[in-house]
């Protein structure tokens, strides 16, 4: 059902979108600006992107960010999917409480999450480093994975699984051949969401990073504090493009959009 959009509403939406995206558009535009100081346009250049390629620290930090995001995504997706399945398919005592506890980290301010993780690691005597960053990222991604997978599970027809069981498939075979293929888009969407959350996290990372684990957002933050150089714009532009592509991909694979297509 499509309704005619009132012109006033369209204008309002346009303004909202402009305000949302203008800063990013300006940031990207100035990554092509010839001036070292980024407020005056002095001509088009690709120098900052070229300089980016020469900066080993930025490349190393990007590598670390990718490693952390991939590892955290893998951990959070596996555990989160299993957790969602358990919550959706089994009668668990205190299920409500478990779900409530899952949502708590979603609304906890990052500062608080960062401090508590840091204190936990310090208390447990775990040396800070890439390992603690991966653990922290997996932790804050986990609830988002569970929420997305649960949403997909809610829209899935359970009778297929029941039919498979009746036809003699054991639980494992049912899971592998019936449940998982149906669930896959939800799992993939959750993984993409986790990846995008992890790749640009700064606050929590800055608390739990140790020697040899400065991620790209940390480096960008430190660079901006000292000097705003258009290489920061260039790396930010790349980051924006990559995360946008991933978010769009996640959107296309989300249960809601799949349901629309079916």
């Amino acid at each position: 059902v499509t309704a005619r959009v009132r012109p006033g509403l369209a204008a309002f939406v346009a303004v909202v979108y402009l305000l949302l995206h203008l800063p990013v558009a300006v940031l990207i535009a100035f990554s092509f600006n010839a001036s070292r100081f980024s407020t005056a346009w002095t001509g088009f250049t690709l120098d900052w992107y070229r300089r980016l390629a020469e900066r080993e620290d930025l490349l190393a930090a990007t590598g670390r960010s990718l490693f952390v995001a991939l590892s955290a995504t893998a951990i959070a997706t596996v555990i989160g999917t299993l957790l969602a399945l358990a919550l959706a398919r089994h009668r668990i005592r205190g299920r409500r409480a478990v779900e409530a506890l899952l949502y708590a980290p979603v609304v906890t301010p990052e500062v608080v999450a960062g401090v508590s993780l840091l204190m936990l690691f310090a208390f447990a005597g775990i040396p800070l480093g890439l390992g603690t960053v991966v653990l922290a990222h997996a932790t804050f991604c986990l609830p988002f994975v569970v929420i997305v997978v649960l949403a997909r599970l809610a829209g899935m027809d359970q009778s297929l699984e029941e039919a498979a069981m009746i036809l003699g498939a054991d639980e494992l075979a049912t899971f592998r051949r019936v449940t998982l293929p149906q669930l896959a888009p939800g799992v993939l969407a959750a993984a993409l969401l986790a990846f995008t959350l992890s790749i640009d996290d700064f606050v929590i990372t800055s608390f739990v990073a140790g020697p040899g684990s400065s991620t790209l957002p940390m480096l960008v933050y430190s660079m901006v504090r000292r000097n705003v150089d258009p290489t920061v714009n260039a790396i930010s532009a790349i980051l924006v493009v990559v995360t946008t592509v991933l978010v769009l991909a996640a959107g296309r694979l989300s249960p809601a959009s799949l349901a629309r297509r079916e």
Binding site: F37, T39, D57, V111, S206, P211, S222, R226
Partner: protein, 361 residues
């Protein structure tokens, strides 16, 4: 992108970090008690690795690779974005860093918390290159802990072609005819420190009455300010959107490279000077490599390269001689008007409160 969530009761991350630091100081026991830090101790043979915790871009592009090649040491270089973050991280028990960059104001808490050790200076013979100006400073009176790295003066950077006359002093920021063309540093110590000096007081004042005066003066100036903004104001000075900015001389030098009409003045009433220092962490896993690195950055060519890259002043006499357009040491007349920042101790909370009031006014 991670959804923006409400912050805990409006606390910024930095405030929280500072608070954590204070809390730890208050309940300070023997936290990271250094092992053997006798200043004449013998160090183990050179390790294969070294971990540095520093601001980003605070070495020359070639500094680390050249050190790695010459000494066969693999360097990990990690970054922080504020001194508070650095302090909170070390104090939360982050192990594994060997050398850390510490602003002068942060040396006292680092020492008090037992987070830094005394280097064995006989492994750092190039210390003799350091200018006497940067020795025996208030935060390390016997030069036991710190290796001076880069320094700066807080003053006024201004456009010769826009201001009717050179700024006489901090009173410039009360000039209503310049409304909207002025900025002050977005830094509590510098922004309030200026108004303490304005009335001839110390930038390290802790007396509530003196700070209340500074607050009044600061709020009066705020009406004329375009913003509280630090290093990024360079861009606006270059374009002429800002005519005069409270700024560090290193940044002023960088801006002048793009816009020759930019001048830097140390206000008549005086101002502050600051120094970043390399410090050795207690329980540094690679003490020998750390000492070699300290000695390395004090070589004339290495020191000069660092200052060329950062734009800040080198405390290294031998390096200064190699620079074409160096940030000069302050003249004796300027030096008489400059003051070193010191740790505020308990008064930090009062300063925080006054700074919040100024920004909210």
């Amino acid at each position: 992108m991670r959804p923006r969530l409400p912050s805990a009761a409006g606390w910024s991350r930095r405030e929280l970090l500072r608070w954590l630091g204070l809390a730890a100081l208050a309940g300070c026991g023997a936290r990271g008690r250094p092992g053997d830090d006798r200043p004449d101790r013998t160090l183990p043979p050179l390790e294969r690795e070294l971990a540095i915790y520093n601001w980003s871009d605070y070495v020359a592009p070639g500094t680390i690779p050249a050190f790695e090649r010459e000494f066969g040491v693999r360097v990990t270089y990690d970054v922080f974005e504020s001194n508070e973050e650095m302090l909170a991280k070390l104090q939360a028990g982050a192990r594994g860093y060997d050398l850390v960059m510490a602003g002068g104001n942060y040396v006292t808490p680092l020492v008090a918390l037992g987070l830094v050790a005394r280097p064995s200076w006989r492994y750092v013979p190039n210390r003799s290159n350091l200018s006497p100006l940067f020795r025996a400073l208030p935060f390390d009176p016997r030069d036991e802990y710190t290796l001076p790295y880069q320094w700066a003066i807080t003053g006024i950077a201004w456009r010769r072609d826009r201001l009717p006359a050179p700024p006489a002093g901090w009173g410039l920021f009360h000039d209503r005819s310049l409304r909207g063309k002025l900025t002050q540093l977005d830094d509590m110590r510098d922004a309030i420190g200026a108004w303490l000096r304005y009335r001839g007081r110390s930038i390290n004042a802790t007396d509530p009455g003196l700070l209340a005066d500074a607050r009044t003066d600061a709020i009066r100036a705020k009406a004329n300010l375009k913003a509280y903004i630090s290093s990024p104001v360079k861009a606006q000075l270059v374009t002429g959107d800002v005519w005069a900015a409270q700024l560090w001389n290193g940044d002023a030098t960088q801006a002048r490279a793009e816009q020759p009409a930019i001048e830097f003045t140390v206000p008549a009433e005086g101002s502050s000077m600051w120094l970043d220092n390399l410090v050795l962490t207690s329980r540094a896993p690679h003490p020998r490599a750390a000492h070699e690195f300290m000695n390395y950055v004090l070589r004339p060519d290495a020191g000069a390269a660092i200052s060329r890259a950062t734009g800040y002043g080198t405390p290294n006499d031998a390096a200064l001689a190699l620079l074409d357009d160096p940030v000069r040491y302050p003249s004796p007349a300027e030096l008489a008007r400059l003051e070193w920042g010191a740790d505020l101790g308990r008064a930090t909370a009062l300063w925080d409160q006054i700074w919040t009031e100024i920004k909210a006014a």
